[in-house]
């Protein structure tokens, strides 16, 4: 296809920009056609399966992801995920499939619910607690300095 585009060189100088434009247009067309085709390839599916299963916990070897594990069940689940994705399932559908069978435990990113809210809110709560305590402490010290004008720090200031 490209050979044909370069073949127009013989048409003289004036034809150059046109030839390039046509070649570019042809390339873009080919690229736009090949994009949807490419997403069906095994490499892309592999990548998708891998991305999704790295967020899923292997049930047998619990500190590994399904993507990393070579355990029989993990391999079977990887194949299942691959099959479902190939049939057009969304990530959410695949995750639901897993949770229905193995519980939230299978998710490395657990959902926020009554059992996990403390896990999610914990860091923020601790930060707020720390900030409050620090603030109180700071205020106390300020009050203390104000009330004791003889203290060393106040003298320095």
């Amino acid at each position: 296809m490209l050979d044909k585009g370069f073949g127009w060189r013989t048409q003289g100088k004036g034809a150059w920009p046109l030839a390039w434009c046509l070649a570019l247009a042809l390339m873009l067309t080919l690229m736009s056609i090949s994009v949807p085709v490419r997403s069906q390839t095994t490499a892309d599916l592999d990548e998708h399966v891998n991305r999704l299963t790295s967020e899923l916990r292997c049930l047998v070897c619990q500190n590994q992801t399904i993507a990393d594990s070579q355990a029989a069940l993990a391999v079977q689940l990887k194949n299942e995920v691959r099959q479902q994705l190939a049939h057009g399932a969304t990530d959410a559908q695949v995750r639901d499939f897993m949770v229905q069978r193995y519980g939230d435990f299978v998710l490395y990113r657990p959902p926020v619910n009554s059992a996990t809210w403390l896990l999610w809110a914990g860091p923020a709560l601790l930060l707020a607690l720390g900030a409050t305590l620090a603030g109180l402490h700071w205020r106390e010290r300020r009050t203390a300095f104000r009330d004791q004008p003889d203290s060393i720090l106040t003298d320095e200031a």
């Binding site: 047998v60 619990q62 029989a72 229905q100 069978r101 193995y102 519980g103």
Partner: protein, 179 residues
């Protein structure tokens, strides 16, 4: 002294939270994953039976009865200790026990039952483990207690011990049969 009270209180709170967490892990195996199926309908499936592929089994067949679904495989070593207990228990005729032969070879499964006795009313044969996946089978053995409405009420992960049978399964089965 007073200024240490707050940090000390926080330390105590943290320590007791962690201690509680540790105790919980200690009481029940951390490997044990609670089944999301508990309280829900047993997933529908139809499988051929181990001794005759032409004969089908579906959990629907046992509606109205309390029964056990026992997942096993001939390659599973910890199924051995459990199997003897099941053979004994089945002789008491308390409830139907259905076998679920998981990712096994038909011949090996049959031989296992011939050699060790058959506690099962029938055995469903799940060669590729696809139905096992719907049941959320993680390892063998696993045992589901299913009530008259076809709901999963309890799941034993790992072999049933005499203690589990006496303290957990029998009281539950009694209660479910009354219901």
């Amino acid at each position: 002294m007073k200024r240490y009270l707050l940090p000390f209180g926080l330390f105590l709170a943290l320590a007791s939270t962690l201690a509680l967490g540790l105790k919980r892990v200690d009481a029940s195996d951390p490997q044990e994953i609670p089944s999301p199926l508990i309280g829900k309908a047993t997933p529908a499936f139809t499988l051929g039976q181990l001794d005759d592929p032409q004969k089908q089994f579906s959990p629907q067949n046992l509606r109205g009865q309390v029964w056990l679904l026992n997942v096993w495989a001939s390659w599973c070593t910890s199924c051995r200790q459990e199997h003897a207990l099941l053979v004994d228990f089945s002789k008491q005729g308390v409830l139907p026990i259905v076998g679920f032969n998981y990712q096994d070879e038909r011949e090996a499964g049959r031989k296992w039952l011939n050699d060790r006795g058959n506690p099962y009313q029938l055995t469903a044969f799940d060669a590729d483990g696809r139905v096992g996946m719907d049941l959320g089978v993680i390892g063998v053995p696993e045992t589901f207690v299913i009530d008259k409405q076809g709901r999963v009420r309890y799941k034993v992960t790992g072999p049933i011990t005499p203690e589990i049978l006496k303290d957990k399964l029998l009281p539950l089965i009694k209660e479910l049969k009354r219901a």
